[in-house]
């Protein structure tokens, strides 16, 4: 879902850059206040894992592929602000080094896949684990749903930006983006679930850390 340059108009680029700059600034402040000793290497690991996992496009229906965003996993393990920082690191490196996602579109990409995906995943995970209990079952169901919604909502925001930019009418781009990403979200949910069960089996303390 990395938007290249040219898809967004000047007003959308300026607005999303301003919002994302504010969001990343807030994330730097919040993470600086809260980050614990044990969480420093975890930030590095999550950024490395999300980058590697994003390279693995999996096929979805009809000659289309998708890859995980990873924001849900980061938000569940480290909280939404740290997830915003991790996603920003990944998206900036992808844009600068790998020419994946435009330079001017970086603000929109950080907004969609960083801010929207991280915060939606975090609050949906909180809601589900509150309803289903903070046990193994609740964690896995919460992880799956959080991951699915993060992809779905990020793609919806992406579609709205494209429509506001005049690239494509709302009625075309919104259902198309939401439809494809409803499928990609299932992949994100399954992969998030697998990684969370691996974390539960080996380092369950990492999930406890986040709650405090």
């Amino acid at each position: 879902m990395h938007i290249p340059d040219g898809f967004l108009n000047v007003a959308t680029v300026a607005t999303t850059c301003a919002v994302s700059a504010g969001g990343v600034g807030g994330a730097v402040r919040m993470v600086g206040k809260k980050l614990g000793e044990k969480q420093v290497p975890l930030m590095g690991i999550l950024a490395a894992f999300i980058f590697a996992a994003q390279m693995l496009n999996f096929p979805v229906a009809g000659g289309t592929s998708g890859h995980v965003i990873g924001a849900a996993l980061a938000a569940i393990l480290l909280g939404p602000w740290a997830a915003v920082l991790i996603m920003s690191c990944v998206l900036i490196a992808q844009s600068l080094i790998f020419q994946d996602g435009g330079l001017l579109a970086l603000g929109a990409n950080i907004f969609n896949m960083g801010i929207v995906a991280s915060f939606s995943a975090y609050y949906i995970y909180k809601l589900v684990t509150w309803l289903a209990g903070a046990n193994r079952r609740g964690t896995l169901i919460g992880g799956f749903l959080a991951a699915w919604f993060s992809v779905f909502l990020a793609s919806t925001c992406c579609a709205i930006e494209l429509a506001l930019s005049g690239s494509s009418p709302f009625g075309v781009v919104l259902p198309a983006m939401a439809g494809v990403h409803a499928l990609i979200g299932i992949g994100e949910g399954l992969i998030t679930g697998v990684v969370l069960s691996l974390v539960l089996a080996t380092r369950a303390d990492l999930l406890q850390l986040q709650r405090t």
Binding site: D5, G32, M55
Partner: protein
């Protein structure tokens, strides 16, 4: 050993990067929508290229070039995010 758990985790991340040549090369969700809705032509290439499209330049074997790009990116991101987190934590300790 437990204090170096992240070494094992980083190794797993590098293994994941090595699977990259197996990834689907079909257009992703956004590219597909852009093609179908007819606005893919609006896209502009970056003004410069470093490791464009996750293929390390100057290597003939495409699978190897992809793996190398993945390994470089994985290490860069581990370093960048670790460094940023360490910096934020250190700055707080100094301020306190």
């Amino acid at each position: 050993m437990k204090s170096k758990w992240w070494l094992i985790a980083l190794f797993i991340c590098l293994l994941v990067a090595c699977l990259a040549p197996l990834a689907s090369s079909s257009p992703d969700g956004l590219e597909r929508v852009a093609e179908d809705a007819g606005f893919i032509g609006l896209g502009q290439d970056a003004p410069y290229q470093v490791i464009a499209d996750y293929v390390f330049p100057g290597i003939e074997n495409e699978a190897l070039a992809t793996i190398l790009a993945g390994v470089v990116g994985t290490l860069v991101l581990f370093g960048a995010a670790y460094g940023l987190a360490w910096l934020l934590k250190t700055r707080r300790r100094r301020a306190a």
